[in-house]
Structures are given as C-alpha cells and as structure tokens.
C-alpha cells in the first residue's frame, strides 16, 4: 500500500490502515518525542496525543510537502505544549545579538543512548531550541514565535546549547561569538 493510499484509507477511519500508518511512522515520531522530553512515559503520552491529532486532522494535509514532515511538526508542537504545561521552559539567559561564526568540527562516534544522554544534559530551553533549529529546520523567527520568546533569546539558547554539547563531547573548542545586527535578515 502506498503512502497516498494509506492516507486515503485513514481518512475513511479504517482502523487497519490507521494501525499500519502507526506501525510505519511511530518509531520515527517516538524518536522526535524523546528528543524533546526526557522521561519515557511522558514521551509516550505526547506520542499518543500526537497520533490522535494526526488521525483527527488528516483532512488538513493537502499533499503539499512530505507527509512525514507534516507529522513531525504536529509531534514537535505537541511536545512544546507538553513542556509549556509543565512550566519546563527557562529562557532567562540572553547574550544579545550573537551568531556563531563558523561550523565547529567535531570527531565523534555516538550511539543512540549517548545522543539521548547528551540532549538530556541540556536545560529544557537549550534542548528545545537546539531540536527545533538543528533537527527540525525551523528559523529563529519561527522558533521565537512558537515559544513566545525574542529572536535573540532563541539565538542565545542555540549558541549555549551548541557550546555545552561540544564541551560534553570533549572537544578543544573556543566558542567564537560575533555580535551582529546587519546579518539578522540572512540568519532569520
């Protein structure tokens, strides 16, 4: 069954098709949940809620863009709502208009547990912005709107997350921070 056929069948509320869709995508989406939420039971709750929303709102998916991307966004939103409800966001550190100048090379072989361990070491604010920017591909402008923070706060959180991750990876690394204002449009 192709993805399109599966979506059509799910729109008709066919339970077998819904289960097939779940079997196909739940590992990926559960991975997304775990990146945002450290506690496994909480990640499962977010996954259940996300799939319920996916099945209930399938009519809204118009076939523009990837289906997996659409579902990932729902999961990310659901995870953010969960964190917000639990008051887990802390964005009290703001450096100012900063930008990390260049990609910093790292040498590392990581296993799944290492990645989760590293992400879980980050404060919720850092981790959330890092996930949204580096892994979901959102812009700082979008992240700021989603989290109700300023663009600079989003940038600060990302820079600090990156710095902390690189520190944990044991790299000889000097964070190169460049204060910019004129490049904001490109960065956004």
């Amino acid at each position: 069954m192709t993805e399109e056929e599966l979506i059509q069948a799910c729109r008709k509320q066919q339970r077998r098709a819904q289960q097939r869709l779940y079997d196909r995508y739940s590992p990926v989406l559960f991975g997304v949940c775990k990146r945002y939420i450290s506690r496994n039971e909480d990640a499962e709750d977010v996954l259940v809620e996300s799939f319920f929303k996916i099945f209930s709102n399938l009519e809204q998916y118009k076939g523009e863009g990837s289906f997996e991307g659409w579902m990932r966004r729902i999961v990310a939103n659901e995870a953010l709502m969960f964190l917000r409800r639990r008051n887990l966001f802390q964005f009290d550190i703001e450096i100012g208009d900063l930008e990390i100048a260049a990609p910093t090379p790292v040498h590392s072989e990581l296993a799944a547990q290492d990645i989760l361990h590293l992400l879980n070491q980050l404060p919720t604010g850092y981790r959330t912005v890092f996930n949204l920017y580096a892994l979901e591909g959102f812009k700082h402008r979008e992240i700021a709107a989603m989290l109700g923070i300023s663009i600079n706060t989003s940038k600060s959180q990302l820079a600090l997350a990156k710095k902390k991750l690189q520190g944990m990876l044991g790299m000889d690394y000097e964070e190169e921070v460049v204060f910019t204002e004129q490049n904001d449009q490109e960065e956004l």
Binding site: P27, F30, F52, F55, H107, L110, A134, L135, L165
Partner: protein, 128 residues
C-alpha cells in the same frame, strides 16, 4: 578516523539512532481515543439529525400555515369575481300520496287535546 563534523550535522546524522518502536500499549491507547471520538461524533450526528428532522417539520407546518392563510386571504377576491343572479323557482309538483300523508298529520295534531294553562294552587291531572 572520520572527517570532522559540525555538531549540528553530527546530531542530524545520528538522529535515526533514536528511532524506536514504542510499547504496544500505546497503540491500544490511541485506538481507545479514536473509538471514543467516533462514538461522540456519532452521537453528535444523531442529535443533529433529530434537530434537522424537527426543524424540517416546523418549517413544513409553518409553510402550510402560511399557504392556507394566503389562500384564505385570496378567497374574497374570488367572491368578487363571481356573478350572482336571482331566479324564480317554480313550485315543484306535489305527489298526491305525500300530500295526503301531510294532511293526515295535520288532522291528528288538530285532534290533540289542548292543555290549559293552570293557576297557582291548581293541580294538573291526566285522565286517559
């Protein structure tokens, strides 16, 4: 040794390592929620259907009432358009048998005894 990578790229590449099939109970939880939502939706649909039938009935009755009223208001106009004429009706010939029967009836009535009107203190006594 692998080539150096940016920390973002590293996490992007390794993201798939986090893919993991969630516990079976989670599908059952989703199923339960979907069932609940479907039942709720059916109930809402049933209520909406009833409301729709009720509204249709009210509309039909209202429409019928209005139509009747309209026709009733139009009827005097129709009367105005109607022409009335007065014609003299010739007396119908009387059947001799019927005539005889009527005369016999009148004779019996005439033969009936007159009951006089009494005064206070008097008593009416019927003697066959």
């Amino acid at each position: 040794m692998n080539a150096p990578k940016d920390v973002f790229d590293l996490f992007r590449e390794k993201e798939s390592l986090l893919y993991e099939m969630p516990a079976k109970r989670n599908w059952r939880r989703i199923e339960r929620r979907l069932d609940l939502a479907q039942n709720r939706s059916r109930h809402t649909l049933g209520t909406r259907k009833s409301a729709l039938v009720g509204s249709a009935l009210v509309l039909t009755l209202t429409f019928s009432g209005l139509a009747t009223l309209h026709l009733y208001r139009q009827s005097p106009l129709r009367l105005k358009e109607t022409t009335f004429t007065v014609e003299t009706i010739a007396p119908a010939p009387v059947d001799p048998a019927t005539g005889t029967f009527l005369e016999v009836g009148r004779a019996i009535q005439a033969q009936q005894a007159h009951i006089p009107e009494g005064n206070p203190g008097q008593e009416l006594i019927v003697r066959p």
